[in-house]
Symmetry: C2
Subunit: 196 residues, 2 copies
Amino acid sequence: MATTTAEIKRTPATEQVLGAALNLFTEQGFFNTSIPDIVKASSVSTGSIYHYFRDKEGIARSLYETLVERMESSFSEIEATHATAHDRCRAAIALLFELTEQEPAVMRFMLFSRHKEFIPDQKPVCSSRPFVQMREMVVAGMESGEVREMTPIVAASAVFGGALRLIQLRLDGILDAPLPDYLDEIWQCAWRSVAV
Amino acid sequence: MATTTAEIKRTPATEQVLGAALNLFTEQGFFNTSIPDIVKASSVSTGSIYHYFRDKEGIARSLYETLVERMESSFSEIEATHATAHDRCRAAIALLFELTEQEPAVMRFMLFSRHKEFIPDQKPVCSSRPFVQMREMVVAGMESGEVREMTPIVAASAVFGGALRLIQLRLDGILDAPLPDYLDEIWQCAWRSVAV
DNA sequence: GTCTATATCCAGATAGAC
DNA sequence: GTCTATCTGGATATAGAC
């Protein structure tokens, strides 16, 4: 069912490795993180790491696929529990804000890593399911008459661009307050920009 | 006068190196680019490269400083030639769109490289002068009454977030048409989101 | 200032015992 | 399946002639 290419058996050891790698990759970058670094941080030996993952790239790939799937199902959940484009888009932003506060490393890895550089055959994040889902929410709103007629991708960028920008600023330490504090304000801007 | 830390003498050879490095860094990433790669692409020898730049990081640093300065003066120019926040912000977006089409590598390097990973002591781009200038344009608009009263950084994110998102999509190959084609639409969204 | 040749280091990856 | 010890390549950086 899963369309992943690098399915990895999940054991306590692999979870240790993936957790350590996520932190190191997002703190220092993929290329500044060596296998010995991961060995130390995960308390799993070189041999075991290579037993579970084909190579260093395999760790990143596994991480990426796991997190994309997770986000994908979060968005599906939102689509299932909210009826209007307005409510869905707002819920999506709220979710991203929460996730950024609770698991900044996840957000950093998903949104602000240059995956292309270390997982060469991966499509850009922007074309991954979660991002497509976000655009679909906006398009649905255009069809239902909630959102002005305009180029769909422009509308989606207008709705989510400001929030994504705030997430980046927050992760870069420019924003002091937690993101949810800004939710009402940024949502008002986002919706005004595209509402009929 | 310049506040740079790694001033490099500009000669034809250094320009060759910087040009080649810009292309390689943005196509493959900093860490996937070796000095031998730069030697081949620039037709400048290893010895000369190390003569002009302290090390590989020095090339990236020099590139970064040059491009930040360039963008800084472009924005100053805009501030000088446009009076209102409305006109300034729109001109800034138009400029970024043009630049993305004409020199995608420059834009990629400025906006979507993880500088922190290869220039450790650099502040995040978001705190660099050009980004500060963009925020100042919005704040000025709030003071003049063009822009609604709200948290300044939220307003700035709302104004520029959509456009920056489109730039990213364009650089990632998701958008087929050149960015200027979308300028009117995205600007209408951006301005509606914050106008009084 | 520019080049070639070369030293050094350390990363990624493997072998093979347990 | 898990580990330690080890190999190997290639990258950064230097030496030193021209």
